[in-house]
Subunit: 357 residues, 2 copies
């Protein structure tokens, strides 16, 4: 305990470094959650803990409430821990995704007692693993009232200092073909399931994905085979082949419409939906969103990926992604963050939370 | 030692049962080879041993020499050992493939001192595993002279009492496609290797295999994907896909011609030949082959599969497959052989070896 001193909490760069140096690969968030909880316990915020997820709320009676959210976990270390500073770059696992963003939220929670809007800070566990373990999902399922009184959510996932609005949905489908085994020396006695998968790949190869403009944000879709497998042995006609297909879809489609589209494209094949998560519309009309965009001063772009803003959208809370990290460095061995992007991010978010329009 | 008593050796059915009950899964042939060697040591045959492969030759000065060959090993036990007799059926691992055939050869080696042709008996190890360990291949490579003075070979592999002539060749080829990884949310940054495999499967699906008649035997070919694999993760555009293709070809093609044909069919793709074995022509013109067919009294059919007759063919020795086992029961849990087929097989082969045309 106590790594997060008052001095460290007052400096979002030092705080990023300190959070990175508390190892918190998904499933191992106990220590970092303890330290975040301890740092928040000295404030006027109302703090509650669920597993290793911490919720801290101002209770200032403001007419509007916003969420600032960041996850505490990282992907597994990859010989890139602890942190290391090199000029303007802070290197290490979690620097971009997303301890620099989480540090901005924690820094403001501790140092900004009088925001214009009430704020619900959420520091949550297990974002990088199975959806069922996701701390924000568990909170949204179990105690939605702690979130639903907000009219806007800012998720500090890496966007490299830009505003990324909404997010794509994602759907994974298994397309299966069946045949009959036989010795390959007498192949006419069998029925080749791998050959039968040819039209599946052919349709995916010829598929023309849409680009959809929503609220000025360009969402590109994609329908791709991500895995294929089939076969028994080098001398056996295969009786089963599975093509795993991932559809990334724009937020003008619901999950059901996305699944129906994949069923259209792959009509005639046995399909099984194995994973589905909704898209989120950009949600730029909410007043706090407009204020935030004004504070940034640059137009938003579409989030091309899936993030937890979709969980907020599902609760009826419009959300934006904004963080100092570069999303292209997330999960990479050479993950790093630009220090001046952290400073700029903390300034922008504080200005939004304190200065009137 | 000593399980193979004089009484057992005099009865091909009892001998089949005894050989089955000496467990000899490939790699574990020491015991069965010892017992076969011991059984042969009491005869006038010239016996030599190479690993667990036994060669026993008559030296009668006959103008013509024939080979009788059978392998000693079996595929792994599958809760089907030791043997069990049920009416006309002898059940157990190796009953069909091919201890019933090997028993006929060993029975004749011990009980038939005066065949019309000189005979080279070959009892060999490791037929059911990698070609490099095959006892007949090792013998053909290291001491070909022990085989090449024969003008005909009879391989007692299971044919259910029919004569199966020649054999198909077999070729295995990997067809690879390459792409570029990217996050599936931004698939346009990548290049999908699985989609690129569509034309490979499409061409295999549309392929029309030949049927070729050679010496009255109908050889059917087949070109099949036997395995397909590709993919990195559920959210990554795959950068590699591999389709493993097996070509079973008629003996009017050489291995080189077979490979060239596959290159034609899959033109434009990266191909790697990983396994190749030549076909064998029926070879029905050799006088001992004609005599054998006359002894059987039924027309031959093509061997649809690969057998070691191709190794004899490669040494310039025409060969036929003939054995009591049912080839469709080989490698199956319920493997068995019909007892009267063993008796009939031993009679036919003895008649051929002793009675003039």
């Amino acid at each position: 305990m106590g790594m997060l001193s008052r001095d460290v909490l007052a400096d979002p760069v030092a705080l990023t470094r300190a959070l990175v140096d508390i190892e918190s690969v998904s499933g191992n968030e106990a220590d970092i959650a303890d330290q975040v909880q301890h740092a928040l316990s000295g404030t006027a915020l109302k703090v509650e803990r669920f597993g290793h997820t911490i919720v801290a709320r101002t209770e200032l009676g403001r007419p509007e409430r916003v969420v600032l959210a960041g996850h505490l976990d990282t992907v597994p270390l990859n010989d890139n821990w602890p942190s290391r500073t090199e000029g303007n770059l802070l290197h290490g696992c979690g620097t971009s995704d997303m301890k620099s963003g989480t540090a901005i939220a924690l820094h403001l929670a501790v140092t900004e007692p009088e925001p214009r809007h009430d704020v619900t800070y959420v520091f949550y566990e297990c974002e990088e693993v199975d959806s069922a373990r996701n701390g924000l999902k568990i909170l949204a399922d179990g105690r939605p009232g702690l979130l639903t009184d907000a009219s806007f959510a800012l998720l500090l996932e890496p966007t490299h200092g830009l505003v990324e609005a909404g997010c794509q949905g994602t759907l994974r489908v298994l397309a299966r073909t069946w045949g009959r085994r036989a010795h390959s020396a007498r192949s006419w006695l069998g029925d080749n399931a791998i050959h039968k998968a040819a039209p599946i790949l052919q349709r995916l190869l010829g598929y023309e994905p849409r680009t959809v403009i929503i609220d000025g944000c360009e969402f590109r879709e994609g329908l791709n085979a991500v895995r294929v497998s089939g076969g028994v042995a080098g001398n056996v006609i295969p009786d089963e082949c599975v093509v795993e297909v991932n559809f990334r879809f724009a937020p003008d489609r619901s999950e059901e419409q996305a699944a129906a589209h994949v069923r259209d494209v792959l009509a005639g094949f046995e399909l099984e939906v194995v994973d589905s998560a909704p898209a989120a519309l950009p949600g730029l009309d909410a007043p706090p969103a407009r204020e935030f965009l004004a504070a940034i001063g640059r137009p938003p772009r579409a989030k091309l990926g899936w993030t937890d803003v979709a969980r907020f959208a599902a609760l009826g809370i419009p959300g934006l992604n904004y963080g100092p990290g570069d999303p292209n460095l997330a999960h990479k061995q050479d993950e790093h963050v630009e220090i001046d992007k952290i400073v700029e991010g903390a300034d922008v978010v504080r200005r939004w939370l304190t200065t009137g329009p």
